[in-house]
């Protein structure tokens, strides 16, 4: 057991856990942040996607010790109701969530993608950015639309108004 510190969704936290515990389990069990899901446990599906310093990672493949002192953002950190991020608003408006189990991971990937660009992305760009996130319900069509809608809204309202 080791005392490990992280900054999760802007908050400093200390967790006492084996350093080899997957970050995903730390988030879900020790910090009660269950938006990130385990689906394959092998880094294949993206359901556990979180940001470490604005980079998308599969939290099932990161060990707690590796994430020590890192700045981590989960889907809860992107936005919580009623203060939703524009990406989350767009996912609702376009009907881009169905069963919802993959949705938090996709929101996180979409957030990292849109934060790094300043234009409305093409379908091809979105397909590359979200290529690591599996969804079995939606057929992805509305996800593509939601990301474009979010991008155009971000451009028309550059300052995030909360």
């Amino acid at each position: 057991m080791k005392s490990i510190q992280f900054i999760v969704n802007g908050k400093e936290c200390t967790v006492l856990c084996p350093p080899a515990k997957p970050l995903l389990d730390v988030l879900r069990e020790d910090l009660g942040l269950t938006a990130s899901k385990e689906c394959c446990g092998k880094g294949e599906c993206g359901s556990c996607s979180v940001l470490i310093k604005n980079e998308v990672v599969c939290s099932c493949l990161i060990l707690a010790g590796q994430a020590e002192n890192q700045v981590i953002t989960t889907c809860e950190g992107v936005g919580l109701s009623p203060n939703l991020d524009v990406i989350q608003e767009s996912f609702i408006a376009e009907g881009a969530t169905q069963c919802g189990y993959c949705t938090p991971g996709i929101i996180v990937s979409a957030k990292a993608f849109l934060d790094g660009i300043d234009h409305v992305p093409s379908v091809g760009e979105i397909k590359t950015a979200l290529g690591g996130n599996l969804c079995r319900c939606t057929g992805y069509t509305k996800i593509i639309k939601a990301v474009q809608t979010a991008a155009s809204q971000k451009i028309s309202e550059p300052e995030t108004i909360r």
Partner: protein
Amino acid sequence: MNTKWVGKRVKRIDGPEKVTGELKYMTDYHFDNMVWGKVLRSEYPHAKINSIDIEAAKNLPGVICVLTHKDIPGFNGFGIVVPDQPVLCSDVVRCTGDAVALVAAETLEIAEQALSLIKVDFEPLEVVADAEYALTDSAPKLHPDGNLHSHVKINNGNIEKAFEEADIIVENTFYSPRQMHAFIETEGGWGVMDDEGFLTIRCPGQYAYRDRMQIARSLAYNPERIRVISSPIGGAFGGKDEITVQIYLALLALHTKGRPVKIHLSREESVIAGIKRHPFKVQMKTAAKKDGTLLANQVKAIGDTGAYASLGGAVIALAIEHSCGPYKIPNVDLEGFCVYTNNGIAGAFRGFGVNQVCMGIETHMDMIAEKLGMDPIELRKKNVYHQGEVSSVGHIVKSSVGTYKTLETAENCDLWKNREKYKSEVSEPWKKRGVSVATSFHGIGMGIGLPDYGAASIELLPDGTFLVGVGCEEIGGGNSTAYAQIAAEMLNCDISNIKIVQGDTQKTLDGGTVTASRSTYTGGRAVAAAAPRMTELLIQTAAEMLNLDSSQIDLKPNHISAHGEIIPYKSIYKYLYDHHQATRVEGHFYLPKEKEEIKGSGGAPHHLYGYLTHVVMVEVDTLTGETEVLRVVSIPDAGRVINPQGLEGQTEGGAVMGIGYTLYEDVLIENGYHKTRNFTDYIIPTIRETPLIETFPVEEPEQSGPFGAKGIGEVVMIPIIAAIMSAIYDATGARICHLPATPERVFNALKDLKKQKVQSSR
């Protein structure tokens, strides 16, 4: 009809909690005093169990209990139709997914270690790895009655005479893959028993009341003292219709002294233990006249149901009922066999057998059209049955039939009309494009012989809002939003005043399954039956409060008005509460049924069907054999559309799942052992494989449905399979009859084609 909510693109009511991740799925719960459950699965696909020694496991520090078949208080079996699957195997194992023992421990690691300490003396037996071999005399019998689980047969007319008189006959054999549901949330949940022996099981499922019955049967426990919560679900598609881990949780909860116990299967365990789509071998022979009139169809389908029945018998029956497509073929000889093997377990999956036969009849329609030089849509339009006509299985179809309209829409869509132009626009010179069409249908509800009903409750809450309770779970498709739309429409209130509760044996009435494309239709009708009772309650109460006649009361949006006075609903609630009167009403609905079962059919016909036509364009790389689906046009007849956005969610998701089935997906099992273990080797479509998908619903209102709606959840993935197969042919001249159409299969087919051409030119 002028509506405020129904038929509108209403945003999902569960959207906010899903996009933030705030929604707690059952597998998201974690408690400080929680213990972990694990299941010991069989080492062999077929073996005798000589002994099970749990001593070492029990003595491992941190282990709370180790259970075997001896610890099952009630019936050691489960299964929706025939409960032939042991909860925990006692004498024999029939697949590697079979459960032999359960462990509960302080941590997941200890539970896993305990599993390794359980010593099971297995004596391996011959493995039955092939469904056709299973039917031979030399195959070992996997169940007391042999390896044939069920056999269905439908005969009409005179098949021999029809084949003699036919101008054209096509005959082929089709093989279909063992598709995995690949829901993103693997099977799991948690259970707990309180001080008074009341058991609560929270586990995603597709019919809470039936799960409760199966738990109670195994525990020999009063079902009234068991609560099952089965919604929300992180995807199911039929894969959580059968019991998954509910009985394991209940058994362990009997021994954890009031501590909650959780099981959440790893993907690898889910692949091995979870049910799959039945792989089929379908032999089909279809005859037509020169003018394109279909004369006869002969079908022999063999489905591999694996080690246990689950819904295998019903899957084969539905396949045979649908094996002639939505056409009127006067002479048919249709036969289906559902066979036990040691290849895992197969059961319910979106489409329920129709996928496997649709690829046969629709490929044949294309072949007949080509041989006759007819347009494939014309050929279909000529042969489809209309409302009031006799189907191929010999019943008069009384409910709404939209096939003809879907075909007309297909004919006029941009992709079909301009297909020659689109086909010429290949992305590389060595790639070839093809455009094809296919149509299909799918029964809604259970068919003959099974109870089929919907039930809903509406309760007026203290704050003046309404709680609508429907047994059917929110599986992801958005039925909760559809129920809220119907309730808001009929109660004349804002949708934000509707709350929905689903899938909870304590809070919702028994309203049947979330399967068989039935939940919008039956649940929606039940809500529509309850709503007038609520409005009557509101009006009567207001009349009583104001001492007026009920004819003087007006139901306005979100309130009642009478004589210029406004009465908010919370005042009505307070009045009812103060006067000790009920604030809750119920609505019930029985699905209309056909009166006469087709002899030997195992439950056919259905009263109601949903219809759909797909047009697709593919591009095939002739150097690698890779196929890419570029465009899909989905034309459903779902009756009146309750929510266009929700309908598109189904057509788009179904299309992509159909692409996966046709091109990539197959759980490979060799001699009873799974070669496919996770998403590393089981490939489902990613966002990169998403084509341009357009949806053009034709609305052929169904009188019996809520606001004219029918079901759509399954047919959305069916015709696309055959359409892709035909589009590959259109592009390359190669017919693939063995799915998935992997690059290897397409490449080899192209190679064979070349060889044939060289030979014939000699």
